[in-house]
């Protein structure tokens, strides 16, 4: 679950991390009492807003209205700006960087900090980064924070503030099941205060049940992907035209790869998971059909999955949707002969192996079958 900046900042504030004052608006006329002078910031789930013209200063309320009107409705890297955040303008002395994320290899959270904030942190030379794993069993210790502020070369009164923010950001990271807490820039003002200039927060989807208040957040998904998410189906839209559906993420990826090697291009990544419930299969197929593929490539290797009930689900979906999209299907599993017969009965193309199925899908698309 990704958070728009202003929602992330509200959570930051809950944990005691200093953030600038701000007001949010979906329409210019909703803007009443912005802190002035302010920055008008497009609220989108994508980076690079500034370069795209999504962040601009305003000194007066009139200017704020005018700029908000410009920014609202803008298209930033494919994201329409639906809200703006008008935020107190900071007197910037220095920009730092601070984040917590996980390091898969180390299986521990990783704290990254740098004195070179305000830019894309991956472009900062490695020797300018402070990186430290945090053992979850014992948590973040004062010596880690001391080493950090020492490396950042901060004077004591600033170091203390940054350490306090890092401690709170780690608490947030853990308690809110975050995948990422990122503050870039972490601003040092001319007045000697440290304050979160931006806020990125991504919360683990698997922990949604512990944070039901976040479940309704706008996410970085197409309409179909949103529908899939609501139905609990793993579905990603791609730019090819062959609708790929398989069971298991690895097998789905492999099916897309094999299809590609055979000269085709996947238009969907749909992982059916372990289900053989015909209704769920039908639901997944309905989504797939809505994505308007020219051919559907179904690849099931289910030692335990019942192949015939999967086939019945496919049949049902095609009937319900009145779809006449050609389907190439390879189903291995319990009762696979019965499954093949069901598929043949509705005019589909059964295949024995995934290589054969992929080849066939490409042929069908080219009108060769």
């Amino acid at each position: 679950m990704k958070f728009l900046e202003y929602k992330a900042k509200a959570i930051f504030a809950k944990y005691g991390i200093p953030v600038p004052r701000g007001v949010v608006a979906a329409r210019p006329e909703e803007i009443h009492d912005p802190p002035l002078p302010c920055m008008v910031k497009a609220q989108v789930l994508v980076g690079g807003r500034g370069k795209a013209g999504g962040i601009k200063p305003a000194a007066t309320i009139e200017e704020a209205h005018a700029i908000a009107s410009q920014i609202l409705g803008m298209d930033i890297k494919g994201y329409k700006v639906k809200t703006v955040y008008l935020e107190q303008r900071l007197d910037i002395e220095k920009e730092l960087y601070l984040s917590f994320t996980i390091d898969r290899s180390a299986r521990e959270p990783l704290l990254i900090a740098s004195a070179m904030g305000g830019m894309e942190i991956e472009t900062v030379p490695h020797d300018q980064l402070f990186m430290q794993h945090i053992p979850t069993l014992i948590g973040i210790q004062p010596y880690v924070l001391r080493s950090m502020t020492k490396r950042l070369g901060l004077a004591d009164h600033l170091g203390e503030q940054v350490e306090d923010i890092a401690r709170k950001a780690y608490a947030l990271f853990r308690k809110e099941d975050a995948e990422l807490v990122e503050i870039n820039p972490l601003v040092v003002t001319k007045g000697g205060k440290v304050i979160a200039g931006d806020a990125k927060l991504v919360v683990d989807d698997n922990a949604e049940y512990r944070h039901l208040e976040y479940a309704k957040l706008d996410q970085d998904r197409t309409a179909l992907e949103e529908e899939a998410h609501e139905k609990g189906i793993t579905f990603i839209q791609l730019d090819g035209d062959i609708g790929v559906i398989a069971n298991g993420a690895g097998l789905t990826m492999a099916t897309l790869d094999v299809l590609n090697l055979k000269g085709g291009k996947g238009g969907t990544f749909l992982d059916l998971g372990g289900t053989d419930d015909p209704d769920k299969v039908a639901q997944a197929f309905e989504l797939l059909i809505k994505a308007k593929p020219s051919v559907i490539l179904l690849n099931i290797f289910g030692g335990i999955t019942k192949a015939d009930t999967v086939a019945l689900g496919v049949k049902k979906a095609l009937e319900v949707m009145h779809a006449d999209v050609p389907v190439v299907a390879r189903i291995k599993g319990v009762n696979e002969d019965a499954a093949k017969q069901i598929l043949r009965d509705i005019g589909m193309h059964p295949a024995e192996t995934m290589e054969e199925a992929a080849e066939l899908a490409v042929q069908v698309k080219r009108g060769g079958v």
Binding site: G47, S99, F100, T101, I102, D103, R104, S105, R107, E108, P109, L110, I112, E120, I121, E122, L129, M131, P135, T136, L137, R174, D177, E179, L180, E182, N184, K200, V202, D204, N206, A207, Y209, R210, I236, L238, A246, N247, G248, A249, G250, L251, M253, A254, L256, D257, V258, N260, L261, K265, G266, F269, F301, G302, G303, I304, K332, T353, M354, E355
Partner: protein
């Protein structure tokens, strides 16, 4: 010998009374696994597929000398179940459950190390040692005893590959489905260590996928420490770039994590990478 699981392993099924737990208990028994107990709070005293059910793992240990656990409980309860197994002294804990919040995993996996327990998974198909025992959900019939160790991050793709191996005459010593989550108890490298040390294993198959740097690290390890032939497959060459953990993620991962990076790492380590999954069998023929 085999890796982690043998016919002598005494398995307790946590969450045995659930649909999945019951179904796979039957399948594991049929495969010959010594499923000695189940655990399900409040259901102690009953039986599932002839297996006695206890309220706690400790009872399964005390009464039935269980020494390994397979967990089928729902995600919100998995951390509790895993810690219960470790505290009861079990040294092998296989977690099938998927969609576990990774902040839970980040607690019980380091904790497992303090207890000297090996965790496989979560979100994995389990482990199988053909002709000996199965702790997992994979279809039994595609496996056959042999000398190939299999390590895989995915489930069904592994079945696809194992099926091709078996058909091609390449049986398996043990197949470890390490799981597809970002945070897993036993990673590719650690599984490689086990197979390298296992006398029964003569060749090793690694099935990787995009995301993370497990394959790159494994390749470096192979280059240095593995004397047995290794062949690999990497899924996701044409998949959309996975979600990246913001800029921080980019720093951790650097240029790694892509299929190209992984294939190159394997090749640099002298590990042939199959183009098609079924080609694994062909590559094994050349080892």
């Amino acid at each position: 010998m085999a890796v982690l699981l043998t016919k002598h392993s005494r398995v307790v099924v946590q969450g045995i009374t659930g649909h999945q737990g019951q179904f796979h208990t039957r399948a594991m028994l049929d495969f010959g696994t010594k499923v000695v107990a189940g655990s399900s709070p409040g259901k102690g005293g009953s039986k599932v597929e002839g297996v006695p059910v206890f309220d706690s793992v400790q009872q399964a240990v005390d009464k039935k000398r269980a020494n390994a656990s397979i967990i089928f409980v729902p995600a919100p309860y998995t951390k509790d179940a895993a810690i219960e197994a470790m505290e009861a002294g079990l040294k092998l804990v296989v977690i099938i459950t998927e969609r576990i919040p990774f902040h839970d995993t980040l607690e019980f996996i380091p904790y497992a190390r303090t207890k000297g327990a090996v965790v496989i998974g979560p979100n994995c198909p389990g482990i199988i040692t053909p002709a000996e025992a199965k702790m997992g959900i994979m279809p039994s019939h595609i496996f056959k005893p042999g000398d190939c160790g299999v390590i895989s991050r995915s489930g069904t793709l592994t079945y696809e590959i194992v099926n091709a191996m078996t058909q091609g005459g390449f049986g398996q010593s043990t197949c470890v489905g390490i799981g597809g989550d970002p945070i897993i108890g036993t990673n590719t490298l650690e599984a490689l260590e086990l197979f390298q040390a296992d006398r029964k294993t003569k060749r090793i198959v690694v099935v990787g996928e995009i995301g993370g740097t497990a394959e790159e690290e494994a390749a470096a390890y192979i280059h240095k420490n593995v004397t047995k032939p290794v062949v690999a497959y990497v899924a996701g060459r044409t998949a959309p770039p996975g979600k990246r953990m913001g800029h921080a993620g980019a720093i951790i991962q650097g240029n790694m994590g892509t299929a190209e990076s992984k294939v190159k790492a394997f090749n640099d380590a002298g590990v042939p990478v199959a183009e098609y999954p079924v080609d694994i069998a062909k590559l094994l023929g050349q080892t």
